[in-house]
Amino acid sequence: MLEKTQGRRTAIAAAFLALTLGGGASAEGAAVKVGFAADLTGACAALAEDGLNGATLAAAELNDAGGILGRPVELIVRDTQTKPDEGAKVARELITDEAIDVLTGVCSSAVMLAESAVSKELKTPFYAAIGSTQRANIELFQPYFWQVQANATMEAYAAAEYVAKKADWKRISTLGSDYEWGHTSVAAFTERLKELHPDVEFADPIYAKVGETAMAPYITATLAQRPDAVYAPLFGPSLSAVLKQGQGFGFFQRSALVTLMTVDTLQSQGAAMPDDNVFGIARAPFFALEQTPEVTAFIDSYRAAFGEYPTDWAISAYDGLKFYAAAAEHAGTVEAEPLIAAVGEITYDGLRERGLRVRALDGQMNAPSYVGKASRVEGYAFPILTEVEKFDGAPLMPAEEFILKARAAAQ
């Protein structure tokens, strides 16, 4: 572990050095500056570091290929400490002092909204590749913002679509973290599943304290509802706790669990993953992507640079920066107004999918979601998702009328 982390750090350092010392050989002129204001310390640290790796790799590749509009790409990294006020401050500093052309990097919902407000005020493009609160798309949408992955509602819809296909799951419980993400996810999931499958029975939703690690009482309460499946928008420590502590209650013999299961979670669970009945929602599981030459090449160079498989966050961040480059090339400039116009116009073929587009109304990309079953497979040291179903983004995106109505209500 020790060697691995150090190796990884060295790689990051080397990549940085290459970037900050003038970028790619073939790119010339003033750099296109990408402000990466990320939650590098605090609850989001692991995700943000992966995202930074993905963006670093994308920038290196762009530079090798001549940069953006012939100009080198430069990543300028700041730590928000996962504090919204700190996020707003570094965003402001990046824009006013470093004169960045685009802002990204953020993970926590609160930090994301804080940075979005700064982007709006200072009219600087801002995209989210890790954080996914739909408040940024709906009530608090501002024209300089776009989101390159499925937002929380879309993920919950994807889960509902998946659950609806399981004919023998008649009784569903929900167990979410007691904060905005948990509540909107449960609400969206329930709403969509009711539409798809009106006879499904729902037990009362249960919410667990954010960051709770003693999940036994919640597991007991959930199982007492005798569900066939449990939809659980949980995260980090609470999710690990359910996976580990649930086994002692026969959770995975008594019910299925549908939850967020990105590559980092799969890796950290390792051997402790229950053998059966865990179904994971993911944003960009590298093993389930269509293994095009671009994807395999990306996985290889990522592993070479950082000594590990790319997580969903790394892929989103990579795709995000590449998408930005494509939009800039299309606009012929990185000036905010034409660039934002281009964001709404172009179609982009990314690692996750071909034909990715951003809807101008809410800045939402039609990014896909993936749901599959966690299982151990030869060739990987950690469990992966198998029987993965990909859900296209477009049908999951909230309807335009819904968005307009929600915005009107928020006024």
Binding site: D178, K244, Q245, Q247, G248
Partner: protein, 290 residues
């Protein structure tokens, strides 16, 4: 369901006691509020993570041996910290000692992150503790039962040390009256160092024991320290039996609270602490200064 929840509560209570016992022990004798207690807990979990694959992976004895060793390693660090830093400022404002331990929190968090990275790690459970005790329709998970028993062993061992050994007598003397220890002809510093080492050992032990039941990451410190404080304060800082009672009270209330007032879960233990503190303040006569 109430029965299972009560058992859940007892299990969590014992884990909390293991965490809080070291904190309350250190406070009782040295009057130091050790903010780094959560960090020592976290370190115990990480050391256990390293040791488990080396010592009989999957076996019961291997796990407990790893946990004990982790406790000892953390204890050593605690001892060093006491001797190199804390010892130099006994007698200064109590706040200074608190801030020194806060400094240790900051240092350890970054050091842990430098060594183990920001990603969460997982310590495997011993194979024999993976399952559950199934009685009728009810499941009672084995692992927390084992932790509960380990906790009982610690409680009994502590009672034995405190009441039946010379060290315990000195310890009690130190808690009641510091001057007394000096009169007994024992180096007071030695006692403080020993107590700090013992408290750190308990923290490391608790971290190791809890490691397989959740994830191990560099953010464990803050989660742990706050609940440890609350347990100690509910039981009366420096009071071991109080800590046990406080831990069980918190564990049980949380487990039962899930059933009756789920939305309060985030604030429940703070409410309990506030109510107990307020009740305690009402119980005393108006003008009593100390």
């Amino acid at each position: 369901m109430i029965l299972i929840q009560l058992v859940n509560g007892l299990m969590e209570g014992m884990t909390l006691f293991l965490i809080a016992s070291g904190l309350t022990l250190i406070f009782g004798v040295t009057r130091i509020i050790n903010f780094a207690h959560g960090s020592l807990f976290m370190l115990g979990a990480f050391v256990t993570y390293e040791l488990v694959p080396l010592i009989g992976p999957g076996t019961l004895w291997g796990f407990f041996a790893a946990v004990l060793l982790a406790g000892l390693a953390v204890s050593l660090l605690g001892m060093l910290f006491e001797m190199l830093a804390l010892r130099r400022i006994y007698g200064a404002d109590g706040l200074m000692q608190l801030i020194v331990t806060v400094a240790l929190v900051l240092i350890l968090r970054d050091v842990v992150r430098m060594i183990w990275g920001p990603n969460s790690l997982s310590v495997p459970m011993p194979d024999r503790l993976m399952g559950a005790l199934q009685i009728g329709d009810s499941y009672f998970p084995l692992f927390p039962i084992a932790v509960f028993l380990a906790g009982l062993v610690v409680v009994v061992a502590m009672i034995w040390v405190i009441y039946f050994t010379r060290a315990g007598i000195l310890l009690r003397a130190g808690t009641d009256d510091r001057g007394m220890v000096a009169l007994c002809g024992v180096n007071e510093r030695l006692i403080f160092t020993a107590v700090f080492a013992a408290g750190a050992f308990l923290a490391g032990l608790a971290g190791g024991l809890a490691a397989p039941y959740g994830e191990v990451n560099h953010l464990l410190d803050t989660t742990v320290i706050v609940s440890a404080f609350i347990v100690c304060v509910i039981g009366g800082l420096g009071n071991l039996y109080g800590a046990l009672a406080g831990a069980l009270l918190v564990g049980l209330t949380k487990a039962i609270g899930v059933m009756y007032f789920p939305r309060l879960s985030m604030v429940l233990i703070f409410l309990i602490m506030a109510l107990i503190l307020i009740a305690r303040s009402m119980g005393r006569q108006g003008g009593t200064a100390r």
